[in-house]
């Protein structure tokens, strides 16, 4: 039982990170119906920004309290990563809006290749390890919970609450939901669609940057190619939960996290990704539009 709860906690940590990235996929998909393939690399850029900020802080000050360091890393990463996603949307996706469906997908894949190789060229191909920032581990009834995990879950919960508020209670969120339902009608009613889409990309990137910072803190290492696997997993999570649905993205992220940690604990660690992908395929056979996704209404 203890072992099970332990795995549950590990899964929750992992799932929180996936959920944060998955929101970026699902929001962009919801509003412009496009798979933003570069999102995984946006996450990697966020983690890398946090890494560089961490090193800058280390170089400038003798010692910085961990809380402040994390906060600064997160904020700078959010700002710069948002700038990246905003620029990418403006340069690579906006001119192709209204073009056929695969065109932005291809530019997104191109941007993904360009981003990861840009980081490789400018920062070098090696893994970048940082000294552990938070190493405290609590023992609660035989279950060890590290402070890192607590931070990840709390930060994720706070952000999700803030995010929920933004989408459901503010005029910005209303505009977003309106664009999601019918972009043309929203424009006719005076919503600046371009601006709303830009903000969607910025919000997605900010969440991915937080996920990147947390990832860096949790694993203590990042490399230029680390965007792909979490990106694909988060995308899987978004689809599993029903792409376009925000609670679905979080649910899917948690599910993928649980599947992974349970599978590595009880079966084999080698096949954990295979398990996650297989479960995706099986779920989609029975629920073709994901767990919480709206079934597609076909109009003839």
């Amino acid at each position: 039982m203890q072992y099970f709860v332990q795995q549950l906690i590990n899964g929750l940590t992992l799932g929180s990170i996936y959920g944060l990235i998955a929101i970026g996929y699902t929001m962009v998909y919801g509003i412009i119906g496009m798979i933003n393939f570069a999102h995984g690399d946006i996450f990697m850029v966020g983690a890398f920004t946090a890494l560089i900020v961490f090193l800058v802080l280390g170089a400038l000050f003798y010692s910085v309290p961990v809380v402040i360091a994390l906060l600064v890393m997160m904020i700078v990463a959010m700002l710069l990563t948002s700038l990246y996603n905003w620029t990418i949307e403006k340069v690579a996706y906006r001119p192709l809006r209204g073009s056929f469906r695969l065109a932005p997908l291809i530019t997104a894949i191109g941007m993904s290749i360009a981003l990861s190789n840009f980081v490789q060229v400018t920062q070098g191909p090696r893994n970048k390890p940082i000294p552990p920032m938070v190493s405290k581990v609590y023992d609660i009834g035989g279950i060890s919970v590290s402070l890192k995990q607590i931070i990840i879950v709390i930060v994720t919960a706070l952000l999700l609450a803030l995010f929920w508020y933004l989408v459901n209670k503010t005029s910005l969120g209303r505009a977003q939901r309106a664009c999601e339902q019918d972009r043309k009608m929203a424009a006719l009613l005076g919503i600046d669609v371009d601006r709303t889409i830009s903000i969607t990309f910025i919000m997605g990137a900010a969440l991915a940057a937080v996920a990147g910072t947390l990832f860096l803190m949790y694993y203590g290492v990042i490399a230029f190619s680390d965007g792909f696997t979490p990106g694909v997993k988060a995308f899987t999570a978004a689809v599993l939960g029903g792409i376009g649905s925000l609670p679905g993205a979080v649910l899917g992220g948690l599910m993928i996290g649980f599947i992974e940690s349970m599978w590595s604990a009880y079966f084999s660690i080698d096949y954990k990704d295979v398990a996650a992908f297989s479960i995706l395929a099986i779920v989609l056979i029975f629920l073709p539009s994901g767990i919480l996704g709206r079934p597609e209404v076909e109009k003839v």
Binding site: I35, L80, L83, A114, N117, G124, K128, P129, S278, A281
Partner: protein, 531 residues
Amino acid sequence: MAVTVSPERDSVATPIQRALKEAFYAGAIALGLFVLFIGLKTGQNISNELVLTERWGLLAAVVIATAVGRFLYVAYGQPFMANQKITDVATGLLPASVGSRFFQLPAFILAVVAAVLLFVLSNSLAGWVGAEPAGYLQFLRALAVIYVLASVIYYFRAFIHANFTKLGVAALVLYPILVVAVLSLNAWSIVGGLQGSLKWVDNFGIQILIYVMLAWGLNIVVGLAGLLDLGYVAFYAIGAYSYALLGTHFGLSFWILLPAAGMMAAFWGVMLGFPVLRLRGDYLAIVTLAFGEIIRLVLINWREVTNGSSGISGIPKVSFFGLMSFNVSDPNYIAKVLGIAQSGAYYKIFLYYLILGLCLLTAFVTIRLRRLPVGRAWEALREDEIACRSLGINTTTTKLTAFATGAMFGGFAGSFFAARQGFVSPESFVFLESAIILAIVVLGGMGSLVGIAVAAIVMIGGTEALRELDFLKQIFGPDFTPELYRMLLFGMAMVIVMLWKPRGFVGSREPTAFLKIRRAVSGSFTKEGHG
């Protein structure tokens, strides 16, 4: 609240003022994007800790370059292109006015003379001017040759445009012979020519043709049937491992295993097809992507069979239909049988014709299938699935045949790849490969075989050509490695080509079924990729 509309605000700003403003914004954005990534570099010190190196000079250069580039584009580029659009009548390959200004007789003669002179003197040049300027002169020679070829193409553009397919096939068939002939003349010996041709035939010819074949295979799934497949590389892997395992363990010949690998891949195509029959669009995309990853992860982890990430080596070579072999030690080695000099180039040239044959087979099958009921059903499925079903087409078999046929060609290409490399490992079958193949299909203009071939030549040939940029070391110093920038440029090229031609190189298409007259269908009337 009064809304103030000030139309004069835009008209007051001259293009230069607007360009200055835009340049400022572009510079500011570039500064934001690059301040951490170019301004600082993370590196390891001796005790393996991360340290930062400052590169503010490089950062300033990049930011200024961005701003200047944006300024020139807004101030001169945009007005120029707007003018061009008005004055140009598109004629085939190049807009007429630009073309006729760029390709003129005196320049053509000059380029021919320069190229010939530099070729004749190429061996003694280094002695006269030293090694370093000789490198530049070689680059100049390459430019002159390209210019001459481009002029010839421009002069015969109407003819080329009319007979593009025939000329293309002829050029592909003659390519190795031409390469060997030119290099033999250059080195003044046939053995030297054969040796020099290795790079051109293998790195450029075979490499490009493998991608052409893969893209044509994927084209059946994506371009014809409109099913977005992001895991096509899985079938390539299945074909490669089929040949690698059966060939190394049972010693079976390539000619038996080629169809076997195709069948194996087709079988897995159907296996993938079954669960995804009900899925549409992006759900289909993610499941195919997941399938590709599952196959790769199984190849990595099923160590007893696949030897894990270290891969399988010592895969037997293809024989010349069992008559002659390409192993030097064999009694029926080709050079011994024919009584010619030993060279590794025969095998490469043979492989080139083999993959060319496989490509042409793929193209032939695709063209013929499009006229069969199943091909028409694919295209109907792509355009509208509901209408397709209402007309009594069985969408299940239609989708499954598309997956199986596409997968089969992927399997063929895979077994060829294994035979060519002599080594396979899961490294070769990552998602990036699927993405590149899909990108070639879309950049070429989905459904158009010629467009896809052109896209493969441009994208793969372009990235291979970037390996040849050693002369840049003379400019940027010996630490500069142009190879590193290959994939960065590849990704950016994908974006730029897509922005430039969203419908791909060949945007219009010939209809397969028509009433009385055959009219080309503009790309904007077709709805591709609606899975």
